[in-house]
């Protein structure tokens, strides 16, 4: 019986313009800056509590984390392109929930591949999970 690669369920994910094969799961986590802290500056003579913005500002920055997991087979040619990305380099990613117009699409131009975990078993199955990070947010839009 000919080998049929696992191809996911209609989602598409491109990294550095290459479509990933065997797409199984995508997790996107966009986080904004922490809210500005308010410090208490109430004096003894005050009749009510007063506060002032923390001059040091919030801690941290915006952060986007995208985790993509692909299933693969070591016996087939459905070789995932995640293995051909350079760790730490900025790349362009795009994720679409389907090819249908008006469905959601997520784009980010400067994500860094921070982590790549490859798991292979002797029975020919493989899973590759890539974690991308950036200090800016991506944008959601419609598939065009």
């Amino acid at each position: 019986m000919a080998f049929t690669p696992y191809t996911g369920k209609g989602m598409t994910f491109t990294a550095d313009l290459h479509s990933l094969t065997g797409l199984d799961e995508v997790r996107i986590d966009d986080a904004g800056k922490p809210l500005a802290e308010q410090l208490d500056k109430t004096h003894a003579q005050s009749t009510d509590y007063e506060s002032v913005a923390d001059e040091m500002g919030p801690k941290g920055d915006q952060k986007a984390i995208v985790v993509v997991r692909c299933k693969d087979s070591t016996v087939g040619v459905a070789d995932t392109q995640l293995h051909h990305l350079t760790l730490g380099a900025e790349i362009v990613i795009a994720f679409a929930t389907s090819a249908t117009s008006n469905d959601d699409k997520y784009d980010h131009a400067t994500m860094r591949l921070q982590k790549r975990v490859t798991t292979c078993t002797h029975d020919g199955l493989a899973t590759v999970e890539g974690t991308f990070e950036a200090l800016t947010l991506g944008t959601w839009g419609k598939v065009t």
Binding site: T74, T118, C120, D123, G124
Partner: protein, 143 residues
């Protein structure tokens, strides 16, 4: 009867440590981590109406890291093989070659053997785990 070593299910994937095929390997996990993102420092002044940040002039902390974990079963003759992978010196670098299948990606690196625990069973096979590490990134290449 001639001794036949346990070799796992043969599907074309190839794993070599120190130029020798790993006997009875069941699973390999290759974890590659890039250097951390550069930190951003808060640059907000009292007169600023919005919060601002700047890149940390010290740059990113740390270096890339690769960790390889190999799980499997091996027979007593394999463990007792003086030239085999279970008698390699810890804290020494050895070449590791992993090829997913003929004609597809392969990963070649020379990490340092850090751990080699083994569960000794009463039967003919014992479980083993080898852990190798390197403070560097390697690239996957087409076979």
């Amino acid at each position: 009867m001639a001794y036949t070593p346990y070799t796992g299910k043969s599907v074309g994937a190839l794993l070599k440590v120190n130029s020798a095929v790993m006997p009875g390997w069941k699973k390999i996990v290759i974890e590659e981590t890039a250097a951390p993102l550069p930190a951003r420092l808060n640059d907000t002044e009292a007169a600023d109406s919005a919060y601002t940040t700047m890149a940390d002039p010290m740059g990113a902390k740390g270096t890339p890291k690769t960790t390889i974990t190999i799980d499997g079963l091996a027979s007593k003759p394999s463990f007792n093989d003086a030239g085999g992978p279970f008698n390699l010196a810890v804290d020494t670098a050895y070449a590791v070659l992993f090829q997913k299948a003929t004609g597809v990606d392969k990963f070649a690196i020379t990490p340092v053997l850090k751990r080699r625990p083994r569960v000794q069973a009463l039967g003919k096979l014992s479980e083993y785990t080898l852990t190798l590490e390197l403070d560097a990134a390697e690239t996957w290449s087409a076979n």
